[in-house]
């Protein structure tokens, strides 16, 4: 018995000693010293103390790489190209990187620890991403599960973006959610109002950020956003355009329509906006105003199944069905889609069947 106790004590002692050695080694031996990160061939160089993840280092330097999981290596969004010094790709990265991406040197910045000098490349547009503090000036109910949050920028007090782009909103910890998270939302404001960012947010049942927005965020409260991000935007092509959206997918189109109005754009646009019921539709009056002010803009709200108490004399069915019924051939069109991944997949299928060139279908499904 005594021998067994002694054996356990001996093993525990050895284990404790090893743990102590590891802690000491991490603290005093595994110091990486000063490391330089060259970004985009000398466009920017930063010198930092090694040991942190590349994503954290870049964030501290106010270089914001989109990330939805807070650096836990689970979202796969924070890809950057590492030309030199990144070391071997880790097993935690490989599921998120295609063979081509690995060949090109793409890595998950949250998984790469800065241990030595690095030469990296990030998309040019991310260099202009900034962090903003803003005051939530007004919260408007748009539907039973959608609200518009009007943010007045404080520092910096203006933002330049291309209509169609999105920002990331920082959701702080609150009861039921332990950590800061960022979520992406399209900008839904008039780009001429550079001091204001509107977000249209639909509540996700049990969603971390939308619950915070709906239950905790108050008018007058300060929030943090960063951006702008994204390639979704109206092309310069004068081809007739089809917009297709559902729910909060309305957001980027509000901004794009403001842009068209300011530019006196005469381009032909048909906008199909779908809801399951009448109560799911929003901003109908604003769309009517755009119809009056834009030369060739038609807004087509579509309701899948009006509720028993709802009166609706507009188009019925799925938004994709309405498009199929309206057009025989879309070969000359461009299409712009924003909504849930399922809606976008269904829309792409319909558009292809109507002869649209896949390269002229633009979408942002945040997935």
């Amino acid at each position: 018995m005594a021998q067994a106790v002694l054996a356990v004590l001996a093993i525990s002692g050895v284990a404790a000693m090893l743990a102590l050695i590891l802690v000491v080694a991490e603290r005093f031996i595994a110091r990486y010293g000063s490391c330089t990160i060259d970004i985009n061939q000398g466009t920017r160089q930063i010198t930092i103390e090694g040991g942190k993840s590349l994503l954290n280092v870049l964030t501290e330097e106010k270089l914001f790489i989109p990330s939805a999981c807070g650096g836990r290596g689970t979202c796969g969004y924070c890809k950057v190209t590492i030309r030199e010094g990144g070391g071997p790709i880790l097993p935690t990265e490989t599921p998120f990187l295609t063979a081509d991406e690995q060949e090109q040197g793409l890595r998950l910045s949250c998984q790469v620890k800065v241990r030595n000098d690095l030469v990296i490349k990030i998309p040019e547009e991310l260099l202009s991403v900034r962090e903003y503090t803003a005051v939530c000036e007004k919260i408007e109910d748009l539907t039973y599960d959608m609200k518009r949050f009007i943010l007045r920028l404080q520092e910096p007090d203006r933002i330049d973006y291309v209509p169609g782009q999105y920002v990331q909103l920082l959701c702080p910890p609150y009861p039921g959610s332990d950590e800061e998270v960022y979520r992406a939302y399209s900008i839904a404001s008039d780009p001429a109002e550079t001091g204001r960012v509107d977000l249209i947010i639909r509540r996700v049942p049990n969603g971390i950020c939308t619950t915070w927005c709906f239950e905790h965020l108050q008018e007058g409260q300060t929030v943090r956003i960063n951006g702008p991000y994204g390639e979704f935007r109206l092309s310069d092509n004068p081809a007739p355009a089809l917009f297709i959206a559902g729910g909060s997918g309305m957001a980027p189109f509000v901004s794009i329509l403001h842009q068209m109005e300011h530019a006196h754009d005469t381009r032909s646009v048909r906008y199909f906006y779908g809801g399951n019921q009448v109560r799911d539709l929003c901003l109908l009056d604003e769309m009517k105003r755009f119809e009056e002010h834009l030369e060739d803009f038609t807004f087509v709200p579509v309701v899948a199944e009006p509720g028993p108490e709802e009166s609706w004399d507009g188009r019925r069915g799925l938004v994709t069905e309405a498009v199929s019924e309206e057009f025989d051939n879309l070969a000359d069109y461009e299409a712009y889609l924003c909504g849930s991944p399922g809606m976008i997949d269904a829309a792409i299928k319909v558009l292809k069947s109507l002869g649209i060139d896949k390269a002229r279908v633009y979408y942002d499904k945040f997935a």
Partner: protein, 168 residues
């Protein structure tokens, strides 16, 4: 069932609100290994496997996706409807699985009885035999779920790979 250190770490993640608000375990204070084992045993008692249950749920979700946002007749007295939100949600287990933020509602035409699940619920049940903790937002009681889906058992506990075959 003894809980491994990895399981204990996972339990911490599941109890936290890092992935979904309020976490996955609700008010359930049982260790994660015990929750999983109890639910697995309930499935096995019915002669079923978690994979089969998840497979049926996935079929119903796929049927609902034919007309996203509207009620679809899925046969067998069931109507289903899927609602989607933008974005993806990650599996809390340490592997790179991501699911769409999609909620399927299924209801029995005759009784109006309804159940809701997410794509992540399907994954958690099928891959991890995890039906979530009591009083969590998307907890599914295995027996109630099996009854609702109208599944009948064929597989044995041994088929389900839950209990090792005793050596004779």
């Amino acid at each position: 069932m003894k809980q491994s250190p990895d399981m204990a770490r996972l339990e911490q993640v599941l109890r936290s609100g890092r992935i979904v608000r309020g976490g996955f375990l609700g008010t359930d204070r049982r260790p994660l290994a015990e929750i999983i084992e109890a639910d697995r045993a309930a499935v096995t008692r019915r002669g079923l496997t978690c994979e089969r249950i998840a497979g049926r749920m996935a079929e119903l979700t796929a049927a609902a996706m034919g007309r996203l946002g509207t009620w679809v007749d899925a046969g067998g007295g069931l109507q289903v409807r899927a609602e989607e939100h933008k974005g993806l949600i990650v599996c809390p287990w340490p592997h790179p699985a991501r699911c769409r933020k999609r909620i399927t509602t299924a209801r029995r035409s005759e009784t109006g009885q309804a159940l809701q699940w997410t794509d992540l619920s399907i994954h958690l049940i099928g891959k991890h035999a995890f039906f979530q903790g009591r009083e969590s937002a998307f907890r599914m009681e295995p027996d109630a779920l099996i009854d609702f889906l109208g599944l009948t058992g064929e597989a044995t506990a041994e088929d389900a790979g839950i209990w090792p075959t005793p050596k004779r």
